[in-house]
């Protein structure tokens, strides 16, 4: 935001940054080979559903497209609304590449409809050798990923593990540099 924008109190929603979503396709291979993190076969995209007619139409069309392509790729689609009023489109597919493509279909449809700023994030779920969940969250506004590892128990996260993951993945993923923007996401349903 420029000085003039601050002075006049102008707020514009930040549009999604240039998409680096697909960096996950290659990084997932490294995650599995060297870090023993397997995909849980699920990924999700989270957005604010607006109560307008054209927004519902866009979401319905997009869901139909997904189900259509899902017949070839085997991707399953499921939608749930959480207690914060956000909608989760949960995709299930054993082929990780298809998950990334499916997530991109959703975000692209919302952006083409002019609602790109309503997307909160995308979540890719992994499981470690002990079958504990490890998540990589993609922040569309910043075009960056960050790890999120719930530590069990109320509102606990394993920050040490997250920081180690950041070091381990190195430059294969665009990782969010500002740690205060590694926002937790509790109650991830995947």
């Amino acid at each position: 935001m420029g000085l003039f924008d601050i002075l006049t109190g102008k707020r514009k929603m930040k549009a999604p940054a240039e998409s680096r979503l697909f960096a996950m396709s290659t990084a997932a291979v490294t995650l599995e080979m060297t870090l023993e993190l397997r995909s849980s076969g699920k990924a999700a995209i989270v957005f604010q559903p607006l109560a307008t007619a054209d927004f519902s139409a866009i979401v319905n069309d997009m869901e139909e497209v997904l189900r259509g392509t899902g017949e070839d790729t085997g991707t399953q689609v499921e939608r749930t609304d959480d207690s914060f009023g956000y909608r989760w489109m949960v995709l299930s597919d054993d082929d990780f590449e298809d998950l990334v493509v499916g997530i991109n279909v959703v975000s692209q449809a919302l952006q083409d409809g002019g609602y790109g700023e309503r997307i909160l994030c995308a979540v890719f779920a992994f499981r470690d050798a002990q079958d504990q969940p490890v998540y990589w969250i993609y922040n569309y506004k910043r075009g960056s990923y960050y790890p999120f590892v719930p530590a069990g128990g109320e509102q606990r996260r394993d920050s040490e593990r997250e920081l180690r993951l950041k070091a381990q993945i190195g430059h294969e993923l665009p990782v969010e540099p500002e740690l205060e923007r590694w926002f937790p996401l509790w109650g991830i349903p995947i």
Partner: protein, 297 residues
């Protein structure tokens, strides 16, 4: 048909705000000239007031929080509030502010701090009990917009010279009455100019504050995509406020400018004195946003 954003622009609001700030600057130039004209005593007053303003900007957060009986809460203590603010911060592309809760039945919320990196947002237990999650989300988005717009910084800077003028008006007799300064005509002029600046800048600042409230309401609607939820929160808070006895509210007047809703607003206070726009106007503005969103505007 790709659309760039869900909401249109509000050029009128931007223009009014720019004009107000321009007029405020103009008034202050007059004061600066008078200060310089008054020589040493004028510059001294300016320096002292500058020191106070800096202290206010850098040191007042903790004091203000304590004055409100608020304290910072960890995610474990207020999980839902934290999770809500986490999500709003992602949407608004802001770093996470400190989160505080004030244990009082008065339904209100406010933001402190000079910039996004040092900000604190605070909600009272009263507002958390009163509002539904979607309404509370609108209120917290309003406060986060204050943070993003750096309203505390802007208003402190905007009030800087008004504060100097106020000092001169209040202590004018001490300065003027000191020995041979009695017949100092330049100080007499400064004193009169200060009175003028004080009065004019007061009204301009109240206007500026009201415009920034509109801007914050608008920002909140942009972040949440639910203008009507904030409108419904405002009606609910205002009817809640009227049930609270006046004594409780008097002690909190200084912070009024950064509240979601000002305490102790009576019908006797004219609109021009108010730091917040009237409720009906705020709701009407939010309804226009909802209409833009629905594509019926």
């Amino acid at each position: 048909m790709p659309r760039p954003t869900s909401f249109g622009k509000d050029t009128g609001l931007q223009l009014r705000m720019t004009l107000t700030m321009f007029l405020l600057g103009l008034v202050y130039v007059v004061l600066i000239v008078a200060l310089l004209g008054a020589g040493a005593s004028g510059v001294t007053v300016a320096l002292i007031a500058g020191g106070f303003a800096l202290f206010q900007l850098f040191g007042s957060d903790k004091l203000a929080l304590r004055a409100m009986g608020a304290r910072e809460v960890t995610p474990a203590e207020a999980p839902e509030l934290h999770a809500m603010i986490d999500r709003l911060c992602v949407q608004a592309d802001l770093p996470k502010p400190k989160v505080a809760v004030a244990d009082t039945r008065m339904p209100n919320a406010f933001a402190l701090g000079r910039g996004p990196k040092s900000a604190t947002v605070c909600a009272t237990t009263g507002i958390m009990d009163l509002l539904s999650p979607a309404e509370l989300e609108g209120v917290m988005a309003h406060e986060l917009t204050h943070v993003a717009n750096r309203d505390v910084l802007v208003m402190t800077l905007a009030s800087f010279f008004a504060t100097i003028a106020a000092y001169i008006v209040q202590f004018g007799f001490f300065f003027g009455g000191g020995g041979d300064d009695d017949d100092n005509p330049s100080f007499m002029i400064l004193f009169l100019v200060s009175i003028g600046v004080y009065i004019v800048s007061f009204f301009l600042m109240q206007a500026l504050s009201r415009y920034r409230e509109f801007a914050a309401d608008r920002g909140a609607a942009l972040i949440t995509g639910r203008p009507s939820a904030l409108a419904s929160a405002l009606t609910r808070i205002s009817s809640g406020m009227q049930r609270i006895p006046q004594q409780d509210l008097r002690a909190t007047q200084e912070l009024a400018a950064f509240y979601i809703f000002p305490p102790g607003v009576g019908k006797s206070i004219g609109a021009i004195f108010a730091t917040h726009p009237p409720m009906e106007k705020r709701i009407a503005a939010l309804q226009r946003l909802e209409m833009q969103l629905q594509g019926t505007a």
